[in-house]
Symmetry: C2
Subunit: 466 residues, 2 copies
């Protein structure tokens, strides 16, 4: 029992009222982990924030009592950003979930961080508007989590990632001070871009209480194309050709041979018969543009080596093809007890080579490593499946080799999941000590005691001044 | 004579060789100012960096000798970002101007910061590629300056500002350490977004030595439309209607009645006869899309109250209409001895009201204030013309009132020129002391002695820890 921590929790109960502070063990256990395989510890308490004042009180009290805080949205993260790895209070922001306004003239949505991403999608679409970022977990994840991890999704190919849509925010730093950062106007460059610094900082620099998000006009029409390739390499080689052809796609997804086989095993009706490796592509625009773009992309896919290109004749085709991704999750879970889903990016020209490397690693370590992802951006989700604890050393070796090869090919450790806790120890493969030092200096500037989501992104060894 | 500064300059000459360090007075005087009306002091020396090592040596020696450094590109900035306001060395980066590579598969251009923006435009276009940011000064300004100020331009309406195209960079901090920030891949969220922190930091956090810029496929075709309105207010009121209609424009520029009259006085052939206030709009796409978009935008402009809409029948029309902006600069200079060009942004629905405010300020202070700008983004360049020193107090009052009204209407002090030295004292109109404090903390983390472009963005009062 740590008396300082006990005093901190008592102070929270006193300040916020007992209804907002939960110290029951089952609740604390449920909030210890996110959707990663991070090793966790049970938090001391859960605080359910209902407004910005609750967030500010929690942070300033914990700062005062030197107790770490882990901010949390829906807990759908895959890198351990919301996992509890040191004694902490979990600050649950999911009750801060109102959609405050959508302004059609400014193309601006003002939301609270606990709003489910899919709820914003639905509301925008009902008004003829479009919030482009579409992480796979959109039906469950929160916008606050998306911003904290700078989440991506298939549509990032044409529309960019979450950070490209964050104009500004209200955010509380560890000292309990609420800041208004950025702007609500379409344009604005006043002062440092503190907004972008907060985006993707994985809950280590501040806790969001309001987000000012850019929205767009809803594309009138969307069509999907499914291109089948002889094998994974051929599908990967097609991607730079597609980019060069300036084919106007909005997403370019890859499913490798493993994935296609696994999908077929679970539900043979999802993919066209005989398909081995796949690129799933979408185009959008007004109805007329969409037709023309689909034709152009279809031609580009054929020139790039597709054996066959299927065009969605109606919404049903498109829906069925995308369901391959959902089926895939089930299929992969059915194949093994444990799964890590990595999230690397390589230059597009290196995709085929990277997929060769993945195959070589899988063979060497005797692991199954099905790979899919937003390959149009060079972003691959490399899965590693295993069943038994004894396989863990081989999994660890596979992960390290995967990252080493990624960086050697000019790539990066994360396209959209963040570094969190899981990849922290690999950060130095990609970033120099001086770059990590500069980030630590910024962390120290905004959270001198290192209490906000510590040991995420980089280890919270004591910062020393430059 | 400051002996510490003299020793610093001697150390620079010794380290870099005398050919890279200029201490002659005319050269120093020429490098004291940018294109703003900032009051300047003559720098101690000019360093002409030829490579990253020169940049690193200059910064580390000046850091050691506690002499301030002002990084400088082409000096075309309008907010005093490159103006010398304390005893300093000017670090001229214009010799670092190579276009290292353009990669069509990654859609990536690697450039040095001294490269002229227009040179990148030209090279990209010759390869069927497109670098979207288009500041008015593109034929003269450098990409390093554009990134430092997060420059915009007309095409920002559809394509965003410079920062939206910076994937990563090499940058040297004041301690002389070179950092590789960001990534060269299409996607990547590894670590804090230090790249975006550097973008728009106005030379106060680091000196760029290499920029990794995203490029796109060149739109096959561009068309312009010129819409004439009864008066300035009517043109401004059309803008939110245009946005609501989802008219697929790539830029929406406004010229108010003053500007149209001034243009007509200098060259009556530039604008169609009788035009009083104007929106100049462009669309792009493949040839077919472009035609359809022009038709849609034309209808939207008519619905939004345009008296007449002229469509460019050939490149000549488009070129002539844009030349109105160039003619305008000449025309405004002809009207007065002094000019300040402000750079505010307001929500689009407040444009008409803001323009009313501008008229009221001009009447009250008896000044001429012609206004134009990227009004599709709510971004207005409000000019203030005056001839005589005695008018200066009225000019100052006009500027302060302009900024106060801008902020009151939910706007921001700068859309694309930055805060620099000129707007520094107004920053607190928009940003709270806590937000300014957070920025100072970051400045302090990366430049503890406050020597890199001091007193820009905010005053370099000694930073105290949180």
């Amino acid at each position: 029992v740590n008396h300082r921590h006990e005093r901190a929790v008592l102070a929270l109960e006193r300040a916020l009222g007992p209804s907002k502070v939960n110290t029951e063990r089952p609740a604390r256990e449920a909030m210890a982990r996110d959707e990663s395989e991070t090793e966790v510890t049970v938090p001391r308490a859960i605080v359910y924030a209902r407004d910005e004042r609750d967030v500010a009180s929690t942070l300033s009290l914990c700062n005062e009592h030197e107790l770490a805080v882990v901010p949390r949205g829906a807990g759908t993260g895959r890198s351990g950003g919301a996992a509890v790895i040191v004694p902490s209070v979990v600050l649950d922001t999911t009750a801060l979930r109102s959609l405050k306004s959508i302004d059609r003239d400014e193309m601006l949505a003002v939301v609270e961080p606990g709003l489910i991403t899919g709820a914003l999608h639905a509301q925008c679409e009902s008004e003829g508007l479009f919030y482009a970022p579409d992480p796979q977990s959109a039906p469950w994840c929160t916008l606050g989590g998306n911003v904290a991890e700078n989440a991506g999704g298939p549509r990032a190919y044409a529309y960019g990632v979450t950070g490209d849509y964050v104009l500004g925010m209200r955010v509380v730093t560890m000292n309990g001070v609420a800041l208004s950062l950025g702007r609500r106007t379409a344009k604005g460059v006043t002062g440092y871009d503190m907004t972008s610094l907060m985006v993707g900082s994985e809950g280590t620099l501040g806790v969001f209480t309001e987000l000012w998000l850019r929205v767009m006009a809803l594309p009138e029409s969307v069509q999907a194309l499914l291109a089948s390739f002889e094998n994974t390499s051929a599908a990967a080689r097609a991607i730079p050709m597609l980019v060069r052809s300036a084919a106007p796609a909005r997403c370019v997804e890859l499913l490798d041979e493993h994935c296609c086989a696994a999908i077929r095993d679970v539900d043979p009706s999802v993919l066209p018969t005989g398909v081995r490796a796949v690129l799933l592509v979408e185009v959008d625009g007004d109805e007329h543009e969409c037709e023309r773009r689909a034709a152009r992309v279809g031609e580009a896919l054929t020139s790039a080596g597709a054996l066959e290109v299927f065009a969605s004749r109606h919404g049903g085709d498109r829906e069925r093809w995308w369901s391959a991704r959902r089926v895939l999750s089930r299929a992969l879970r059915a194949l093994s007890a444990h799964k890590v889903s990595e999230d690397i990016v390589v230059p597009r020209t290196q995709l085929a080579r990277m997929l060769d490397e993945v195959r070589a690693i899988a063979e060497r370590e005797q692991l199954v490593m099905p790979t899919y992802g937003h390959a149009g951006d060079g972003n691959l989700h490399v899965n590693i499946l295993w069943n038994d604890h004894s396989e863990r050393p081989r999994v660890e070796r596979a992960i390290r080799t995967l990252f080493e090869r990624t960086v050697a090919l000019g790539g990066t450790l994360s396209g959209e999941h963040g570094i969190g806790a899981l990849k922290r120890d690999y950060l130095s493969l990609e970033q120099s000590p001086t770059v990590i030092h500069a980030q630590r200096a910024i962390k120290h500037a905004l959270d001198p005691r290192g209490l906000l989501n510590p040991n995420k992104v980089f280890s919270s060894a004591t910062h020393r001044a430059c």
